[in-house]
């Protein structure tokens, strides 16, 4: 029983356990949920520590044959690309469960749905089989629908939940057709990713077939990641969702499509990738500019964060489209960093909503004095969103820009400008309106977070700061895999290598001997 399988199974087992707990025993239900996500977090940390960077292939692999007739098996494993995402999933799942103290009705159903969603997300990121990749992701569909519908907020929550469900289903089904098409065209009679990669590297599909299949995967996954112009589901959906759902969805589930592109679409269909990703590099400008400008106009904090999260996805698309080691590494780092950032932002806004019952930026004001911890955390989250050094987003965005500079110079220039300047405008304006300025009497009664309530936010901030100051914790694992992914594309990076050459640095700065 591999460590990964335990990480995936614990939330499902906990959901089953909660189904047996009597409805009135609210403390017990919450305790089971918290303990199970804590266990998942600890297992994820152990996974991260035991992971050996630089080793080829997948680690913590487990394969159980499921359906030989179609070549489907339960196959999980981690390598550099999904290590960060799996650990991110465990962190955000724990934080989301902590933040759910605000749910006071029908807790049993809520925690069951939350745990099923968390388990599905972890399974999706760990999965190395195309069928289970889709299967685990879709497990999150019904929980999202019910959670936004029953525990959501705002008058538009009904519309929002249908919109998010239908829109994401369109994307998922288009991607499913792409996955089945790869399976059928490869003639490999297996859905296993490792097998398929080997077979398609030995005998790739014809260029016309790749050009036909790649857009199915691209747009299917793109819709799921809110690629412009298929992004309109995201802001309203996240604004109407309860805090935990928004944290899990925006923080982790959204990365699924990007991960799918990197893991499946680009390695299996390299010719298609080369032809179609140019389009993506330009569409990402739509994400950055359009959604950035829309975010400037937002008066509701959640809508602002939602739009900003869509804008950040543009950077990840740019990194993937660059098809260079530096760019792809940056893309993975931005994925993890943004996951922490989105979870933190939505968590904080959820806390604010609990206290003030409104998220209209104009109505809030002067809250920093009353909420020192939450206020500071919000300031840090907003600065991280702008790409300020010290937080994990900075190295990620920098790597993306460097990586894409060679092929898409103009795009990078515009992206850098929009990401930093436009981002700064709406982020800092939000901070100014909410936290600074004269204190209003109606918010005299708001209380800062008690120590237990600070825990999820501290955890996420620690992740952001940690990765921001020591990005090599993650990029050392990502870089070799990114190199493998971009090898067919032969893009020579015109930047210095990430690791310093031996003897190039003064002796006391060297952490470990380089090969």
């Amino acid at each position: 029983m591999s460590l990964l399988t335990s990480i995936i199974c614990v939330p499902f087992l906990a959901a089953g356990l909660i189904a047996l707990v009597p409805r009135n025993f609210r403390f017990g239900i919450r305790l089971v949920a918290l303990l199970s996500t804590l266990v998942t977090l600890l297992l994820g940390t152990i996974l991260f520590c035991l992971f050996q960077t630089g080793r080829a292939g997948y680690q913590f692999e487990q394969q159980i044959r499921w359906l030989d007739a179609l070549g489907i098996s339960y196959h999980v494993g981690v390598d550099g690309v999904n290590l960060g995402l799996v650990v991110l999933g465990t962190i955000v799942a724990f934080a989301a469960t902590c933040v759910s103290w605000e749910i006071k009705t029908q807790e049993k159903e809520f925690y069951i749905l939350l745990l099923v969603m968390a388990g599905g997300i972890l399974g999706a990121f760990a999965s190395l089989d195309l069928f289970f990749f889709y299967f685990f992701h879709e497990l999150a569909l019904v929980p999202t629908f019910i959670m936004i519908g029953v525990w959501g907020r705002g008058e538009n929550k009904n519309y929002a939940t249908f919109q998010i469900t239908l829109y994401l289903s369109v994307g998922a089904l288009i991607a499913l057709v792409g996955l089945i098409a790869v399976y059928v065209q490869a003639g490999a009679r297996t859905f296993d990713l490792v097998e398929l990669t080997k077979q398609l590297q030995a005998k790739p599909l014809s260029v016309s077939a790749q050009n036909f299949i790649f857009p199915w995967l691209l747009f299917g996954f793109g819709i799921m990641v809110s690629l412009w112009p298929f992004h309109t589901w995201a802001p309203l959906g996240y604004a109407s969702a309860p805090t935990a759902t928004a944290m899990l969805h925006a923080g982790v589930l959204k990365k699924f499509g990007l991960y799918g592109l990197l893991r499946i679409a680009v390695p299996l269909l390299p010719a298609g990738a080369q032809n179609w990703l140019t389009l993506v590099a330009f569409l990402c400008l739509g994400n950055l500019f359009y959604c950035g400008l829309v975010a400037i106009r937002q008066k509701d904090l959640n809508l602002l964060i939602g739009n900003s999260s869509v804008a950040h996805m543009g950077l990840v698309f740019l990194g993937i489209a660059s098809l260079s080691v530096v760019g792809v590494t940056g893309a993975v780092l931005v994925m993890v960093a943004h996951g922490l950032l989105a979870a933190l932002s939505f968590g904080l806004s959820g806390y604010l909503y609990q206290q003030t019952r409104t998220l209209q930026v104009e109505q809030l004001g002067g809250l920093l004095r009353r909420l020192p911890f939450i206020g500071s955390a919000l300031v840090m989250a907003m600065l991280a969103g702008c790409g300020v050094p010290g937080f994990a987003n900075f190295p990620g965005e920098l790597l993306v820009f460097f990586g894409a500079w060679h092929d898409y110079t103009a795009v990078v220039a515009l992206a850098a400008w929009s990401g930093l300047v436009i981002g700064a405008v709406y982020m800092l304006r939000a901070v100014r309106h909410i936290l600074h300025g004269p204190a209003r009497e109606e918010w005299a009664a708001v209380a800062d977070a008690t120590p237990w309530r600070k825990l999820p936010f501290s955890l996420l901030l620690a992740g952001l700061l940690g990765l921001g100051c020591w990005p090599r914790l993650l990029t050392d694992a990502v870089e070799p895999r990114a190199a493998e992914i971009v090898k067919p594309f032969n893009v020579q990076p015109k930047v210095a290598p990430l690791k310093p050459k031996p003897g190039s640095l003064p002796r006391r700065n060297r952490r470990r001997p380089t090969a």
């Binding site: 007739a69 029908q106 299967f135 879709e138 569909l141 519908g149 469900t165 089904l173």
Partner: protein, 478 residues
Amino acid sequence: MNASLVSLEVFVVLLGVGLLLVDLWTPAAEKRMLGYGAAVALGLILCFSFAAGFATDTPQHAFGQSYVLDGLAMFFKRLFLLAAIIVLLMSVEFADRIEVGISEFYALIVFALAGMMFAASANDLVLLFVSLELITVTFYVLNSFQRSRLQSLEAGVKYLILGALSSAFLVYGIALVYGTANTMDFATLATQAKGLAAKPVFLLGLLLVIAGLTFKIAAFPFQFWAPDVYQGSPTPATAFLAFGSKAAGFVLLLRLLFSAVPDVTLHWARLLMVLSAITILYGNLCAIPQRNLKRLLGYSSIANAGYLLLGIAALNQAGASAILYYLGGYLFTVLAAFTVICLVMRKLAAEDITALAGLNQRSPLLAATMTLAMVSLAGVPPLAGFFGKFLLLRAMVQQGGYWLVAVAIVGVVISLYYYFGIIRAIYWSKDPSDLSPIEVSGPLRAALYGCIAGMFYLGVFPSALLRAATQAVKTLRW
């Protein structure tokens, strides 16, 4: 002539006749318990069907090649028996809403079952017609059984009229086929089909037969009866119609197209694809504005017929086994949904979707069952409906008909809207008017648990049924 092959049908018919006889000696208050007895008897017959005597390595024939007992026939017979057991349990629950003649209701269900079992084994056009008529005529009566309700009579009359029309097409088609081919037998037709394919009269006859069959499966062009009949009929009759009639139609279609005239079918791929596309779009689009739950399920059943036609239009073994798998999952899903409707909607006026409001507080079991049934119908993992749709899509992608796959995706997304609308009604609609708890009897509770278990099992452990389905379709000609 090997009469022991028909033993299952003989037992079923004897059970039906026995019900009518025992009814004469049963006091009026006890009559509804006969349903339990019939269900137990059918359960015994189902267990007997797994006995060694029905080993299906080689097809066995009876009545001079017109009746065949092979893997395909046994697969469907067992599904029909299981469906009838659950429908009988539902009918016992429904018995208080049938004023008089409850034993005839049970007996008619059993006779319809016999018709379906004969249809699963039909190997020539005569038995095809006879079994279809047995099913249809029985349902004429079943659909209009609540004589004091105008809607039930209306449903029966509509079914009668459209059923008679489609039977007319069917018989005319059979006559033309017989006139050109000089045989009714599927095996002989297969050997002659190459020469006959050039004759327009033969092709016309075949088209008319297929059109007649589309009535049974509620596919274009004869699907108009479904919503009205589903809405008006007594709920157990609707449930049996929803599964049984569709499955019977499909086994006949499979045998006709792939066993009798495979050479002609190969040229009709585009026609079948167009039929499938129109059916999917019609069913899904018309379901959007529906407020009556049974009517909505009627349109959804049209859409499901469209998805199943995808499997036929794929023209390969993967498609046929996908159809069988999908029908297996469909059984649990649709019977669970109708059982919940039977329990929740006791008054005529209360068949609106809003009657489901507050179901979570009234009965968590029923709320969970209905939610799972809707999720499975929508095709979301980890339930049976997802894997069935996955298999159908795979078969179509193998064939290369991407435009039809796109239409199917559009259909699935549209269907998500109205299925999830039902989930919404259960969990967060406006203030529910009635919050009294709902009593679920023991046998029906067991049936519901069985359906839930079936939906999960077929979604998470598909290998057993898939192996059986693939084995069953090997007897068709590829």
